[in-house]
């Protein structure tokens, strides 16, 4: 009988039990299901849009926006919707970059303070982290905005610091460096110093490689650059730049760098909240470096600075980089809470555009694409950085 041969047994497996067939079949059914669902939703959407008298296209982007945006790059209400959206994107990027920089510094300081041998410092840092981590960010932003910044004194009774920084209920005013005509001369000195520094850096790097000794490759380059910059400052005939101080004119300050109350509240909220998370990331990163590593570094004669730079930080950074990336992405995404206090970030502007045009679907698409592009760029950069520090360590 032919049934006795093993080959015919395997041939006789019915197709509904053949893994190869099932794999394909299962995926086809899955995709058909997904497409069917999408199709139903799409038909519903077309019906809904017809009911609202809308068509699905992007032509509206070239229409006049007609609404004002309180801050950001140059923009008039007579500009197009596309331009308005771009203003929002730039505002989001601006608050995110400044926020990331400040939160990193704050997180680093607090994270190190949490490991301090000083009992008081350690516990103040711990209380800060626990408080700000466990309260919703939106609540914090609203608190900073309505309970702190809007309750500050009026313009005439502004808090003044160093004669040039003014804080009042209309926002924060900072002095702004204004380049003069002599700026180019000083920039020339800076460029010269940079080239000199680069040469010294390479020379020392090569020498250290030859000697096979640990050392700080920028040990000569950094002082040389600073020296040239310093001497150049005095050799320049006039001052390269002057500080433009905000001055009270009429009912408000003019000149200098101006941070609106919305921007300030959003920034403070984001920085205090994310800083607490970054502090935890930094603390766990430093604690992850085994104690023996420090002791071994001491045993081979590295000093404290070398131990930190060559032994502890490279290993800690490897642990820190991935969670730090997700904190940066969180901060960027959380900047969308601007909508609650009226800072014109990309989500807020997009929301206004939706209310005006009713084109919610394409605008949602644009908003999501913008966030995805920002997120992917940030994580691509951080992944590159992560790979780089991992290579140094091994």
């Amino acid at each position: 009988m032919e049934n006795n041969s093993p080959n015919s047994v395997s041939e006789k497996i019915p197709f509904w039990r053949d893994v190869r067939v099932l794999r394909v079949l299962f995926q086809v059914i899955f995709l058909i299901g997904i497409l069917l669902l999408a199709g139903i939703l799409y038909m519903n959407m077309l019906r809904g849009l017809r009911g609202l008298g809308l068509t699905l296209n992007l032509d509206f982007l070239n229409d006049e926006a007609g609404f004002g945006i309180a801050e950001g790059i140059a923009y008039e209400p007579s500009d197009t919707y596309l331009r308005a959206f771009w203003v929002g994107v730039v505002n989001t990027i601006r608050v995110s970059i400044i926020g990331i920089a400040c939160a990193t510094i704050l997180g680093l300081v607090v994270g190190i303070a949490r490991l301090s041998s000083n009992w008081l410092v350690r516990n103040i840092a711990a209380i800060y982290v626990e408080c700000f981590r466990n309260i919703p960010l939106l609540l914090q932003i609203l608190f900073w905005y309505t309970a702190v910044i809007l309750q500050l004194p009026s313009v005439r009774q502004s808090f003044t610091f160093f004669g040039g920084v003014f804080i009042n209920q209309r926002g924060v005013y900072l002095p702004e460096p204004q380049p003069t005509s002599d700026m180019n001369i000083w920039l020339g000195y800076l460029a010269g110093g940079f080239i000199l520094g680069l040469i010294l850096y390479l020379v020392r790097l090569r020498k250290l490689r030859q000697l096979e000794q640990p050392g700080f490759p920028a040990k000569w380059a950094l002082p040389a650059f600073l020296l040239v910059a310093f001497v150049g400052w005095f050799l320049t005939p006039g001052k390269p730049f002057t500080w433009e101080l905000p001055a009270l004119r009429g009912f408000n300050f003019a000149g200098g760098i101006y941070l609106s109350p919305e921007f300030s509240a959003l920034l403070v909220g984001l920085v205090m909240y994310t800083g607490a998370f970054i502090a935890e990331v930094v603390r766990s990163g430093i604690q992850s470096v085994a104690k023996g590593q420090r002791e071994a570094a001491k045993a081979i004669g590295l000093n404290e600075f070398q131990t930190l730079r060559l032994i502890v930080l490279p290993q800690a950074l490897r642990v820190i980089a991935p969670p730090l990336t997700s904190q940066y992405l969180n901060l960027t995404k959380n900047s969308s809470l601007a909508v609650a206090i009226g800072f014109p970030d990309l989500f807020n502007v997009g929301n206004t555009m939706m209310n005006q045009t009713g084109q919610s679907i394409p605008i949602f698409g644009m908003i999501m694409m913008s966030y995805l592009i920002i997120s992917l760029t940030t994580s691509a950069y951080m992944n590159w950085y992560n790979r780089r520090i991992n290579r140094i360590g091994r």
Partner: protein
């Protein structure tokens, strides 16, 4: 041979525990630490002086008791509030029985909740507010204690209590919404802390199965399923929750015009879809930690894919990600405050309406601080639990 001198008895170094010694070791061990200590003392003095002066002389705390009811339950009708109590008592009963039966972590949980509830209950018994029955909360604590003693040693109640926990979620919803002859309380009247807790609970409970499916999908070796799951997870994780909440508000009526889905359900939908993507990543972490040998062993036993996952892989994977899921629950609990932006009256939304009330103008700081304390207590308590779970499971 030289006779060895008898070992001199060395006394252990005297460990002085004087306060001065402690100060020297912990605050003034180096010159820069001494400087930091002085700076910290100045900072604390300025901060405490400012905060205490404000809290005891300028702040008007009357706004809190006057609005306590809407802070806790929003516009939930007053004559129906007993239903909230039924839900609280049910959960107290279940918790008490579980802690009696299982002991350990559940017992610790019950003790902390009992202590906090008892403390707040005593305060409320002395300062009755219009909303609270004076002894309502103390009654709940008593119920907790009684059920704890009832549960002790009764191991055969186990399946019943587990079933009770499974049913507690629909039970809560049915009581709050109303059934049979009970008047219906529309979800639009749910608010305050009640709504915050419900949104967080729905978000985590419903997103759990979705997240497990997505995680399995992402780890699948069928490309179509893998790519669809990955695309969903990465897209949702790449955009802010506010966007998804707005989208749920605006798009659901466009895409599903035949259904009337109310605002809170749409918010729940948005939160669940958002949370599922993060849940999937947590579960995936657990799945990746399972050694390949477990799959192979299951295969060798002749188990097919669903059985392998259900009986072998998921029980191990989920156990190891419990702390991560609790962590996600904490951030979800905080994130529910974003529904304020789409106009729902959760705890934060209620705080905003109280501030806008002309009777209580200019009390932003008091109201927001009160809301912040509530959020803090819950989040901090949950991270304490998560810590204890990590210790108990030996994972994380």
């Amino acid at each position: 041979m030289e006779e060895r001198a008898p070992n001199p008895v060395i006394k252990p170094p005297t460990e002085s525990k004087g306060i001065l010694r402690w100060l020297k070791e912990n605050l003034f061990n180096t010159w820069y630490n001494a400087l930091f200590t002085l700076l910290a003392i100045v900072f604390l003095y300025v901060a405490f002086k400012g905060i205490l002066t404000w809290a005891f002389t300028e702040a008007n705390w009357g706004v809190i008791p006057a609005n306590l009811q809407i802070f806790l339950v929003g516009a939930y009708p007053r004559e129906e509030i007993w239903r909230v109590w039924i839900v609280i008592y049910t959960l107290g009963l279940l918790l008490g029985l579980s802690s009696g039966i299982w002991g350990g972590l559940a017992l610790r949980l019950a003790l902390v909740i009992g202590a906090v509830g008892g403390g707040v209950g005593i305060i409320l018994a002395f300062f009755p507010t219009a909303f609270f029955n004076r002894f309502g909360l103390l009654g709940g604590v008593a119920l907790l204690a009684v059920s704890l003693f009832l549960g002790r040693g009764r191991q055969r109640l186990r399946p019943w209590v587990l079933g009770g926990w499974l049913l507690s979620f629909p039970w809560t919803m049915i009581w709050l919404h109303g059934f049979a002859g009970l008047p219906t309380v529309l979800t639009s009247n749910w608010g305050g802390l009640l709504l915050t807790l419900i949104l967080a609970a729905v978000g985590i409970v419903v997103s759990f199965p979705l997240g497990v499916l997505l995680a399995l999908g992402r780890r699948s070796n069928l490309p179509a399923i893998k790519w669809v799951s990955t695309a969903y997870i990465e897209t949702v994780r790449g955009v802010p929750l506010v966007t998804i909440l707005f989208m749920a508000q605006i798009m659901v009526p466009i895409f599903l015009p035949d259904f009337r889905i109310d605002k809170i359900l749409r918010a729940m939908l948005g939160i669940t879809l958002f949370s599922a993507a993060y849940m999937a990543e947590n579960v995936r972490g657990g799945l990746q930690a399972i050694p390949k040998g477990q799959h192979e062993a299951a295969h060798a036993l002749g188990l097919n894919y669903p059985l392998t996952m259900l009986l072998i892989i998921l029980p191990q994977a989920l156990r190891s990600v419990i702390p991560a899921i609790v962590g996600q629950f904490i951030s979800l609990f905080k994130d529910t405050s974003l529904v304020t932006v789409i106009g729902l009256l959760d705890l934060l939304g209620i705080a905003k309406t109280v501030i806008a009330n002309p009777d209580w103008l200019g009390l932003q700081a008091e109201v927001y601080l009160f809301a912040a304390v509530i959020y803090f207590v819950f989040s901090y308590f949950m991270s304490y639990i998560s810590q204890k779970i990590e210790d108990a499971l030996g994972v994380g």
